[in-house]
């Protein structure tokens, strides 16, 4: 076994080893303290590792591990987010003393192993292995109490996650059978897309983000959501430029639709975390549109790939820091910095000048595109900034007080400010580093007045009236008179009118198999009679047949 193989396996297996440590009462304390350190090897690998590919032929049907260009960026921000979320979780007073907490922690660590593993998995089967480990374990991180809202969120999440996995698996089976046609591309588009909320399969996303404890939401939207994008980046190109070119137009339109739909639904939310979930839908919509541009041709792909990576880095870190910030105590000298940090991060989301969002949009606009849907994206980009600004203004309004803590949930209590602030700083600085390394001319461009104004006007256009509205609402004590239940379409499709109980949504139990049971029962009884009767009948016919044949 080579050095690279050992390092890679250690990076992936460390969270699982820590999980094993949690099972033994004697090692529990030490293991708990190790959790924030578990992603450290991945971080080190992201910075230092040479380009090495390790073939593990004996694992399953053969797995290939290593770091490609995308993997290196993903490893970086994924590890950072997991470390910050773990630190936040521990600082909120989480211990591994009750069974509920242990289930939470074991799921947490298994999801971590899956998320770190998929970053290194270069082949389809290996990626699928870690992808499903992460998806399934995330259930235990989302469902942290027995309340009806949580159960609804969990079922919606798991149902769609499994559905997406099956689509991906179907695509991989086609590929293994040598078929890389349009079916393969569509299956992967939807299968991986569910993870980051391609409309209309985004419905799980806001609900799950809103109900999970803050560090879990940070992980979901910062790190795990991006896994679907990595799946696209690594495996969609195998479908070939012809197929992808046909897909491209649809993907751009779907992405833009998601960008605006998410923003609209998000505006009509009452809880900061639900709103952030919708903001993720919206942002990932823009990202999806960018991927659509990349799909339109091989040279476009090469040009757009670094932009997509920057987007993932920027949005992953920013969104994770925002979610952590919602669940932070705002006392003490550091606590006072939390709200200003939330403002800065919101500005980054809406692509205000000198933030990651702005670098992304500036770089995108520099792409040489001629006509078609790709050009449409570039025209619409400033408008998405307007929508985002409205959305984040409402977020800042809702987040002016910290969200109520759920002390009885594991990781539900408020954490300390430090992990949030550090992650926030990383989120603000990370894109600068990336741009400085990959596209330094953007740095010069930004300071010229023309570009500055191009980035600034959408923010001002929406920001100024929003600030005025906020001031007025604050004076009058005005509240938004109505809201949309998180999970918009799903709640409607569940066929249940959602009654509002004193401002809170009463969550429907999903209609399971009611009405089916009786019919199935009748069928089974019928078959039992039929089976026996049929057999006896056959016997007689046979006996005659054999007799006739023999004589």
């Amino acid at each position: 076994m080579s050095g690279e193989a050992i390092a890679l396996s250690a990076a992936i297996l460390l969270p699982l080893l820590v999980a094993l440590g949690l099972l033994r009462p004697a090692w529990r304390r030490a293991a708990l303290r190790l959790i924030p350190m578990a992603p450290l090897p991945t971080l080190v690998l992201a910075v230092l590792a040479p380009e090495a590919v390790v073939e593990a032929e004996r694992v399953m049907m053969g797995v290939r591990l290593g770091l490609d260009e995308a993997g290196r960026v993903f490893a970086l921000f994924t590890a950072l987010i997991w470390m910050a979320a773990s630190a936040h979780m521990l600082s909120s007073g989480l211990r591994a003393d009750t069974p509920r907490e242990r289930i939470f922690l074991l799921s947490f660590l298994a999801a971590m192993a899956g998320n770190l593993g998929l970053v290194f998995a270069l082949d389809q089967l290996g990626f699928f292995l870690f992808f499903s480990l992460m998806s399934l374990s995330a259930y235990g991180v989302i469902v942290n109490n027995e309340g009806s809202a949580t159960r609804f969120a969990g079922r919606l999440y798991l149902g769609l996650a499994l559905f997406g996995e099956m689509l991906v698996l179907a695509g991989l089976m086609l590929a293994a059978g040598g078929i890389f046609g349009a079916a393969y591309a569509w299956l992967l588009y939807w299968g991986f897309g569910i993870k980051h909320g391609v409309v209309p399969l985004h419905v799980w996303l806001p609900v799950a983000h809103g109900t999970a404890p803050a560090p879990a939401s940070a992980l979901l939207s910062g790190a795990m959501l991006k896994a679907g994008v990595l799946g696209w980046l690594r495996f969609l190109p195998e479908a070939g430029p012809l197929v992808l070119g046909e897909l491209s137009g649809f993907v751009i339109l779907a992405g833009l639709a998601a960008a605006f739909y998410g923003a609209a639904m998000g505006l009509l939310q009452r809880k900061a975390k639900m709103l952030l979930g919708y903001s993720s839908v919206s942002q990932m919509g823009i990202l999806t549109a960018a991927v659509g541009v990349a799909l339109s041709g091989p040279e476009r792909w090469a040009a757009a790939l670094p932009i997509i990576l920057l987007f993932c880095l920027h949005h992953g870190l920013v969104k994770a820091a925002l979610f952590l910030g919602v669940g932070v105590r705002r006392e003490g000298s550091l606590g006072r910095l939390v709200y200003p940090m939330l403002v800065l991060l919101s500005l980054a989301v809406v692509a205000a000048p000198f933030t990651g969002g702005a670098w992304v949009k500036l770089w995108l606009e520099g792409l040489e595109v001629s006509g078609g849907r790709s050009a449409l994206l570039l025209q619409v980009l400033p408008v998405t900034s307007v929508a985002s600004t409205l959305l984040m203004a409402r977020f800042l309004w809702l987040a002016r007080e910290p969200a109520p803590a759920h002390g009885e949930d594991p990781a539900g209590a408020h954490g300390r400010a430090l992990p949030h602030l550090l992650l926030g700083l990383a989120a603000l600085a990370g894109p600068w580093w990336f741009v400085a390394v990959h596209q330094p001319e953007l740095l010069h461009e930004m300071v010229t007045g023309k570009v500055l104004w191009k980035m600034l006007w959408p923010v001002l256009l929406a920001g100024v009236p929003a600030a005025g509205l906020a001031l007025w609402a604050w004076r009058r004590g005005w509240r938004m008179p109505w809201a949309v239940p998180p999970g918009d379409l799903a709640v409607v499709l569940a066929g249940i009118s959602v009654p509002r109980v004193r401002g809170a949504w009463a969550w429907p139990a999903m209609p399971a198999w009611q009405g089916w049971g009786g019919r199935l029962q009748a069928m089974e009884v019928h078959l039992r009679g039929l089976g026996t009767a049929g057999l006896l009948y056959l016997l007689v016919v046979l006996a005659i047949g054999v007799l006739v044949y023999a004589f």
Partner: protein, 501 residues
Amino acid sequence: MTPGAVPPLAIVLISLIAGLVIFFLAEHQVRLRSSLNLGAAVLKVMLVFAVLWGVYQGERYRLGFELAPGFEFVLRVDALALLFVTLSAVLWLLTTIYAIAYLEGSPHRSRFFGFFSICVSATSGIALAGNLLTLFVFYELLTLAAYPLVVHRGTPEALRAGVSYLRYTLAGGVVLLAAIVWLYSLTGPIAFVEEGGALDHLGPEHDGTLIVIFALFVIGFGVKAALVPLHGWLPQAMVAPAPVSALLHAVAVVKAGAFGLVRVIYDVYGSARVHDLGVGFPLALLAAVTIIYGSLQALRQDDLKRRLAYSTVSQLSYIILGISLFGPIATMGGLVHLVHQGIMKITLFFCAGNLAETYGIHKVSEMRGIGRRMPWTMAAFTLAAFGMIALPPLAGFVSKWYLGVGAVLAGQFWVVVVLLVSSLLNAAYFLPIVYRAWFLRPESPGPAPERHSRRGWETDAGLLLPPLVTAALTLLVGLFAGTEFSPLHWVEFIAQQEYPP
């Protein structure tokens, strides 16, 4: 008798003799009976591994003599036989350990273990049979020897289940016999031929007859393999004690049906002939219907063992599906599931037995928070259930992967849809159990344990060890499917014989 004849005979006789001796032991001779049981099981495992080694080194084992004119009794070792006999020997050893602990202090244990051993002997016979008639003899022996196990408890419900079991399986046996006789009347006595089947000398003018005979084989073996609509006996038979259900569902009875079909398709007809006759597609369709139907029925069962039984109906047809598709990859998927389904399902039944024995829990709705009281049992259960859903890297995923890719290669895309829908249905009936066990608070005060372990474990060590071993196997055979010692590697070898490159 040649030296090569001894191993196959010994493999069959060890458990038979052990069983016959056990009948004459008095009820209270626990220690002697247990050592006899375990001794025979261990001896058999060792023998099977010795044979495996021998075959690996190029040895060939065969025993044959003429019982009656035209009826040669043949036991022989080929790759397929070894697959099945290894599975049954290993799982028999584990089930024996489990059964000894499970039945501690209950009546009629000599009767139970006697028939139990004969069942295993019959299963080995089915595996090693070298022609259809020999296979049939052991097949019927198994039918009869399993009956006392199904009705072991002697309750009215058990007796009813026993009657239903006999009605189905005996009728199936008659159809099977008819099929064999009819085929022999066409061909004369034929042995199994590993490469390409035994029907090469029959011209196309017999195709019509061959199709009818094939249908009879499907019905005859389909009863035990629980193909819809012939599956009615299986869910009823789950009233049997847990070790019996475990054996029934994982190795012995239902597998005998599936294994019989494997022999008919590959070693009698030959996959090319099956393909030419066009009977593969209807069989695949039947298997697909069974897969979906079994899962739908499992969804609505509250009784844990009944849910598992319907799950068996569904999962067994993966094997049938794999062998009915033309091509080496699908064949590998089907054959490897013969082993994988056995390992996973036996784990689930062991765990169900542990819950019933330790806390008197029989229903899914009673399982709130049971993961806190029986973490090891439920961990094993969870792993096996995940395997059934086909989550990577567990055993079930490897099977499903090969089935799916095989279906794509065979151009049967609808099979992929069936497989994935089945996965979702599996998730729909297994995940709520996992959720209840781990995520919900137990009712307080929960039921008091009915059995205790002497060392403070959650239940008797003999009940706990076997499911832990099989759960570990579920992980290992999937995770290390690429190694030389995996079932996958072995079935690859079998598939290469059937479809020479």
